[in-house]
């Protein structure tokens, strides 16, 4: 089973708060965490080891269509702080799912404010109607340790948003892992060959040359 992941922790520049937040997430059961850095108007996600995935926040319809089909992103983050001024259309969403782009729903506004709760749930239900629960990730945009919830709690929230039980648990584990791997494959050619900065050949010819030569000689 894929490990649980929370792919959205928002922290300012305070390192101690960040450490407390990550420790709290680990204590609750998350094995993988991604920290959001707000960069200009785009958001860049950074795994603790290395920068891998890129996610983008969108609010207007043209950006939606473009990002689903053309832009080189891994996750599309749905703003829940206001009523989305457009409806999701099925064609670009289907293209996005085929490309492997995931959709991210954030739940910490729902904890803070009751108006946000309504917007979160209504936007989530809207999205579910179109994409049928595929490639959905639920994460917290937590700034404080008390805003994170445990992975099974979040999977239960997925049930509220209209996901099936299977999809809800996948939204916290499998789909997160898929998004991270999707980010990694963007660095490689067709997901197979990766160049490594070491005095070794690339993974493409992973069979060690002596073995190949040996089999050729034996023919």
């Amino acid at each position: 089973m894929a490990v649980f992941a929370d792919l959205d922790l928002r922290v300012g520049s305070d390192l101690k708060a960040l450490r407390g937040l990550v420790e709290n997430a680990a204590h609750l059961g998350y094995s993988v965490v991604a920290i959001n850095h707000v960069v200009e108007f785009k958001e860049k996600k950074q795994e603790i080891e290395k920068p891998v995935a890129v996610s983008e926040l969108f609010t207007t319809l043209p950006i939606v269509q473009v990002s689903c089909t053309h832009l080189d992103v891994d996750l599309v983050c749905i703003t829940v702080t206001e009523k989305l001024p457009f409806y999701f259309k099925r064609p670009p969403i289907n293209v996005a799912i085929d490309r492997g782009v995931g959709f991210e729903l954030v739940y910490s506004p729902a904890i803070k404010d009751s108006t946000m709760r309504r917007y979160t749930i209504s936007n989530a239900l809207n999205l579910m109607q179109v994409c049928k629960g595929k490639n959905i990730i639920i994460s917290s945009a937590a700034e404080r340790p008390l805003e994170i919830r445990g992975p099974y709690d979040v999977a239960n929230l997925g049930l509220l948003f209209g996901l099936s039980e299977n999809d809800a648990k996948a939204a916290v584990s499998t789909n997160c892992r898929a998004a991270i791997l999707h980010g990694e494959t963007r660095k490689t050619a067709f997901g197979i060959i990766a160049t490594v900065k070491k005095p070794r050949s690339s993974e493409g010819d992973s069979d060690p040359p002596p073995a190949c030569k040996k089999s050729k000689c034996e023919d």
């Binding site: 709760r117 008390l146 929230l157």
Partner: protein, 124 residues
């Protein structure tokens, strides 16, 4: 000679447990606030009411044990109301203006399972 046709009997066990049991703990941000059992129940009912309304606030919910020092409790809810109670506990953000969070430690349809955490069992 062909073997006689085997007969199959299908036995379906529906979940015999009507209630689900949850072990929860309430965590406050700046130190613990004292809550007695009645206030705790009031908090749970108001959380259900905020998210789901009057009808679901009246779900048959019982607090089986409550420890005031650690603010932890074992709750019992009918199985149909588990998802609603669990999600309203998850989305509860504050109590009387102070930030808090519910940590759900264990959920099980059997009360005996709450006495130990089967995931931490060590088989010698």
């Amino acid at each position: 000679m062909p073997a006689p046709a085997t007969t199959y009997e299908r036995v379906v066990y529906r979940n015999p447990s009507e209630h689900h049991y949850m072990k929860v703990c309430l965590e406050f941000q700046d130190g613990a606030i004292a809550l007695n059992a009645a206030q705790f129940k009031q908090l749970l009912v108001s959380a259900l009411k905020d998210l789901f309304g009057e009808v679901d606030a009246a779900l048959p919910l019982d607090i089986l044990t409550y420890e005031e020092k650690t603010l932890s409790a074992i709750l019992r809810i009918c199985s149909s109301g588990l998802v609603k109670l669990w999600s309203s506990l998850t989305l509860l953000g504050s109590y009387k203006g102070k930030k808090c969070a519910f940590r759900v430690i264990q959920v099980s349809p059997f009360l005996l399972a709450l006495s130990g955490n089967s995931r931490e069992l060590v088989l010698e």
